[in-house]
Symmetry: C2
């Protein structure tokens, strides 16, 4: 299913995606988080075919992850912006990014890292914690069936 | 690129994948985290074509996310187990899972949730925090170029 080799990409998210499947949609969302809004901007960033980008953008809008809005400068160009639902994918991107940073870059290689604007320090590694704050390891968790109900 | 409609799947990870791309590889890893080891077990769980599963498994082994090992019961059946690198994808799966749980299930629907074995409570929502522990919001972070060096 992979259409592109991301193994040399500067973005650790893209490198991770290159190892686990076809992820144009998440790369579009990554760019939306970075402030890109126009078709041409996404195409320039991703370097993918117009028909592929167009199909992915439409799917993201269909799933309410992006919404189409009028050009912010009043031009005829339609723009795309993240919905609240789309913004909630931020942690997926952070997790993908941190995996790539930890495993897919060698000494001396540069990449785009997500940092705290206050001090320029990289975002801390995500942690799996219990409801009471305990750090959880793989052996501390298991999968169980749960049910959403109106009171939850 | 989507080959399957995951929108009705019980697994919130699968539902998220269904919205953002083709993710057979991550579903295989999800099953490996759940303890599946044999080709037939993965095929039964995923319900995907043998050639697709075979190609995905080979790619995961190639990328050192899974390794092939002799059958644990001494049988002729080859098994697959997560590598340390593969285990580091756990947080990606947790992030995908939590997005699905938050956005892709309706009242009364059941799903497989990741819970703390000690108290059965779901794993706490992942959080984006600064190196000093401060909770970070979208506006608190930005992407900057960094370089891996031998001292890091």
């Amino acid at each position: 299913m992979r259409k592109t080799d991301f193994s040399g990409n500067t973005c650790p998210i893209a490198r991770t995606l290159g190892e686990v499947g076809d992820w144009w949609s998440l790369l579009i969302l990554r760019d939306a988080f970075a402030g890109l809004r126009r078709f041409g901007e996404f195409q320039e960033s991703l370097g993918c075919a117009k028909n592929i980008l167009s199909a992915r953008l439409s799917k993201l809008v269909e799933h309410d992850l992006l919404r189409r809005v009028p050009g912010s400068d009043g031009s005829a160009y339609q723009e795309y912006e993240l919905t609240d639902k789309g913004r909630d994918l931020r942690l997926v991107l952070v997790a993908l990014r941190q995996f790539g940073e930890n495993h897919l870059f060698g000494d001396g290689e540069e990449w785009f890292s997500l940092v705290d604007v206050r001090d320029g320090e990289p975002v801390a590694p995500l942690e799996m914690r219990a409801s009471d704050g305990r750090l959880l390891r793989a052996d501390d968790v298991e999968v169980r069936t749960v049910r959403r109900n109106s009171t939850s």
